[in-house]
């Protein structure tokens, strides 16, 4: 009887792995397929679309890159500037709220936090009108400024909690040594909150890199398109209707290219990200 019990336990354990393995497989299969197809030419795709075929056509990648590089550069610039702006401004604002006493401090802070409750849908149309009236349509600023403004809210919230937990003696001693407000912020406060700032940077970069509707609304100039909406233009180049065949190889190579910057970011910053999440965000 005992050995039957042990076997049963093993069986259940194996069954769990089978179920989880299947689920993870289903999650991953589309991406595996993406990479497999990205190395095919049209002929290989037509005859054997689902499995690896040789020779691998690496040339799909330069072909895709040539068309996407402009969009990718735009996205790197827009997301990079937005991300730096968000992190720096959010950190400084959070520092001011956590460190100094002034009239209306609580009120102003809650005013900012209240924005977390307002879903963007109410503001989309008016925001377009504001950007249009400011003459920013079809400029990078139409993306960057709203991204910084919107991204700050969560950042200020998380970082203020973080700064409040640091003993103020640390900042006081810097000030006694003659450091001004900015100097104290840059030399004392910022190094302490690196993991938190990295977390906010990732959230911001991930969000702006993926944003779809806002760039679609404010950017129509092909030279300024970000990668998300650039992919649509890119896709229509390879997609053909009627007799001709869509060239899935270079098309999918392009999709892979579009994912690489995010992958790189996560690989570089995942250590900070995990640290940041466990150190502050969850306890906040």
């Amino acid at each position: 009887m005992r050995s039957w019990g042990r076997w049963r336990k093993r069986l259940v354990e194996a069954l769990k792995h089978v179920v989880m393995g299947t689920i993870t497989g289903l999650v991953f299969y589309p991406f595996v397929m993406l990479i497999v197809v990205s190395f095919k030419n049209t002929d290989q795709f037509m005859h054997n679309p689902w499995f690896v075929t040789f020779p691998l056509h690496f040339a799909n990648y330069p072909a895709a890159l040539e068309l996407l590089v402009r969009y990718a550069a735009n996205s790197v610039f827009v997301s990079g500037v937005s991300c730096l702006g968000t992190v720096f401004l959010a950190a400084f604002t959070a520092y001011v709220f956590a460190r100094f006493e002034f009239v209306g401090r609580q009120f102003l802070f809650y005013l900012i936090i209240s924005l977390m409750m307002v879903p963007g849908i109410l503001g989309l149309v008016p925001m377009f009108m504001i950007v249009k009236r400011l003459g920013l349509l079809n400029t990078y600023w139409a993306l960057i400024l709203p991204y910084i403004a919107g991204g700050q809210v969560l950042g200020i919230f998380l970082l203020r909690t973080f700064f409040s937990a640091i003993p103020s003696d640390l900042f006081d001693s810097a000030e006694i040594d003659g450091a001004g407000d900015f100097r104290t912020f840059i030399s004392v406060a910022m190094p302490l909150c690196k993991p938190m700032m990295a977390t906010i940077a990732i959230i911001s970069f991930h969000g702006t890199w993926n944003d779809l509707i806002w760039p679609l609304v404010v950017i129509s100039d092909d030279k300024l398109k970000t990668i998300t909406i650039g992919l649509l233009a890119f896709q229509s180049r390879f997609q053909s209707y009627g007799v001709a065949v869509t060239q899935y190889g270079p098309l999918f190579a392009g999709y892979v290219v579009a994912a690489i910057p995010l992958l790189a970011l996560f690989l570089c910053a995942s250590r900070y990200f995990v640290e940041g999440l466990t150190s502050g965000a969850l306890k906040a």
Partner: protein, 306 residues
Amino acid sequence: MGYGEVVDAASSTKADIVRGIRACRFYVYLLPTFVLLGVFCFYPPILGFLGSFYEWNGANVKIWNGLDNFAKMAHDKVLIASIGNLIKLATFTLITSITVPLLAAELIFNLRSLRAKYWYRVLLVAPMVVPGMVTLLLWQFIYDPNVGLLNAVLGVFNVPAQRWLNDPHLALYCLMFMAFPFVGGITVLIYLAGLNSIGQEVFDAAKIDGARFWQRFFRIDVPLVMGQIKLLLILSIIGVLKGYGAQLILTDGGPGYSTMVPGLHMYHQAFEFDHLGYACALGLALFLVIITLTYLSMKIRKPETE
């Protein structure tokens, strides 16, 4: 405070002024943030609220028309169709996005090997690095009537090819299943965090009392992760009600109005027909629905546990 009294009145006010001016610097520090927030975060919702009461085309026409925009909604056939679609979509999404990740989290949580636990967690989060747009376009390919993956798989079982996103009866269901297998992103991690915070002694006690797995699941695990369930419920409600990216890219609300949702309707009204006032009113209505549902979900109490 002893020496404060010996300082004469004149220098005391002077010190006050200096201190006052020095205190003003905090407001200067906050100025850039508040200028940005004011223009791009506070002003748009206010303008959207006011805009709902105007006939507004974004250029020369801006006429107060009271509640006409809201009255118009009652007769807007596209809106009514879109609400029906949204209800179906939301029901399906809420159910799947709350239950399936919980079951997956239970599976991972109950694995014995720590290493396997770690890897399943990593693998489930990893797809987040793929841009949403790429995922959308991939699904477009999966659903492609001619060379798509889904028809190819069904072909193996001799199921006739379907037109999926081009079929008005199937398109909405296709959009629902784009989240398949419904465990993407951080939902599983949120549940796992909840399960991990339940003390081991609780599980031990249940074991000693002879509780079977399902008894433990419903009497202990579910009540104790109610906080996480609530959080995910709120996030999914907000996400599904305001989301229309997939519709915008893949179907544009069609075929017919079979995949139209209120958010996309608002987008069309604003950016294709220049009915900005009506679009604002639609935005306001959606906003009110989202706020109400969020508020109601926050009111859900934990079931009484001993």
